[in-house]
Amino acid sequence: MERGEKIALGAAVAGHVVLFGLLSVGFLATPNPEQLTAKPIEVSLAEDVALEQASPNPTAEAAPSVAPEQGAPEDAAAPEPAPPEPAPEPAPQPAPAPPQPRPEPAPRAARPAPAPVPAPKPKPQPRPTPAAEPKPAPTKPAPKAAPAKPAQTAPARPAATKGSGKSPTATASRPRGSRLGDDFLKGLSDRDTPSRTEAAPAAKMGAQAAADIGSAILRQVQPCANRQVTPGPGAERIRVAINLKLNRDGSLAARPRVVGHSGVDGDNERYVARVDDLAIATFVGCSPLRGLPEELYDVQNGWSSFTLRYKLPG
């Protein structure tokens, strides 16, 4: 090798060293692509959005059976003149019944004079003649026959007995100042009677509740999902429908089962089995699930067996 060739060899070596050195320090390095500034938002579409039947609150207080009391007729004497007219004839007796509210039934007046009680009775039961009899009735009605007897009990418990509904006679008798008839809501009490029936279960878990539970579950398994490595390009497009059998405490009653896929195309179909495994591992790894609504556990479509869609992050 002659001198010229040695020089040329040295120059070539030097040139290569310089070139590779420049490349090594990033002389022609491609700048990193700009990071996406906006993170993509995941949107999940709900198929059924209509609200379904949900049970009303079954423990709400029952409506009172009567209108508010307005007190006894103000003037016991006032009705008195009226009975004399009906007294002779039994027929018009129903007529006094409508005017019942008009005379203010003052209880104090009524009590000293239980006599008027039979008088406004709308029922034909009390004989018209006994009705006339009590008129002079500063005397006790006690000795009287059966028609008077309800009257006797009435003063004792003017208000309370009315709704008991045990005997038709009790309901029948007293003027109460209500615009409603005595047989209004027959068989019901005016007391607050909380229903003893259990809360009726909701007919069905609605779509809204299902979506909420699905979101809650996905939120809880997110740490496990983040640990999974996407097996290949396109695998994150696979959506796995996975069925969870849950216990009431949120733990898994059985191994999650994959019941379907969507988003599988030619690119990623070879990853389906792997994605299934990863999805199952995600739910197994982050169970038990917490904070799921107890009352929606074993209703129809409840979360005792819950199917949701899962896809790999990324």
Binding site: G4, E5, I7, A8, L9, A11, A12, V13, G15, H16, F20, L23, S24, V25, G26, L28, A29, T30, N32, V229, T230, P231, G232, P233, R274
Partner: protein, 230 residues
């Protein structure tokens, strides 16, 4: 490792790519880099040599056609290693041998002069184009060698993908990049070699044509001299 060569960064760092590669690919890369260095050494030395040779040959021929005394000119240029001077020396030598005897065979002398000077031209061209076959070899073979390294590296990275059970781009990309780097080096060595080979064979052809022209002219002169000799 130097942080410049860290593997995570998507640089074109040849050293990082080399260090990551499989040993077969490393061997291929090393061979191709050496081939590239050798190619460039030949290119640099050859271009300088051809340029100098052609310049000196032109000068030599100018001086030759101006001179009157061929013997004196031969003595002056006796130790020159210029191709023209060697062809000239071969002609003069054959002339002296052929004209040394009592009787001169003119036709035989002309033939021997032409043969000896043609042989000298052929020898000079051969020595001149000695390195060109290396350029030709590198230019035609280096891409295939680089391709071999690439195929090997990609096979290897596929095997590692299969082992990792993971085909995300982060796993695939470095192996393929380092494999493709072998092809890149192969092309890096081959492209200058092919260009230089074509250019230098053209240059050698021109030198050869110039030598032949000079030999023919000298042969014509000697042949005319032969006619005047007796």
């Amino acid at each position: 490792m130097n942080p410049v060569f860290n593997m995570e960064s998507a640089t074109l760092s040849p050293v990082a790519l080399f260090l990551q590669a499989d040993w077969v690919v490393k061997l291929v890369m090393l061979g191709l880099v050496l081939a590239s260095i050798w190619t460039w050494a030949i290119i640099l030395s050859f271009s300088a040599r051809v340029r100098r040779t052609r310049k000196e040959m032109a000068k030599f021929e100018r001086e030759f056609w101006k001179t009157d005394d061929i013997d004196a000119f031969h003595r002056a240029k006796a130790d020159s290693d210029l191709p023209s001077a060697r062809v000239f020396a071969a002609g003069v030598q054959e002339w002296r041998r052929s004209t040394a005897g009592k009787s001169i065979d003119r036709d035989g002398t002309r033939e021997r002069l032409a043969t000896s000077m043609g042989a000298a031209v052929a020898l000079e061209v051969e020595t001149l184009s000695d390195r060109l076959n290396i350029l030709a070899t590198v230019g035609s073979v280096a891409p295939f060698v680089g391709l071999f390294g690439t195929v090997w590296g990609i096979m290897r990275s596929f095997t590692s993908i299969a082992q990792a059970q993971n085909s995300s781009l982060a796993v695939v990309a470095p192996g393929i990049a380092e494999a493709l780097f072998a092809t890149a080096i192969g092309l890096f060595a081959a492209i200058p070699a092919v260009i230089a080979y074509n250019r230098f064979s053209h240059g050698v052809n021109k030198v050869e044509a110039g030598l032949n022209r000079f030999a023919d002219g000298f042969h014509t002169t000697l042949s005319r001299q032969l006619d005047d000799e007796r």
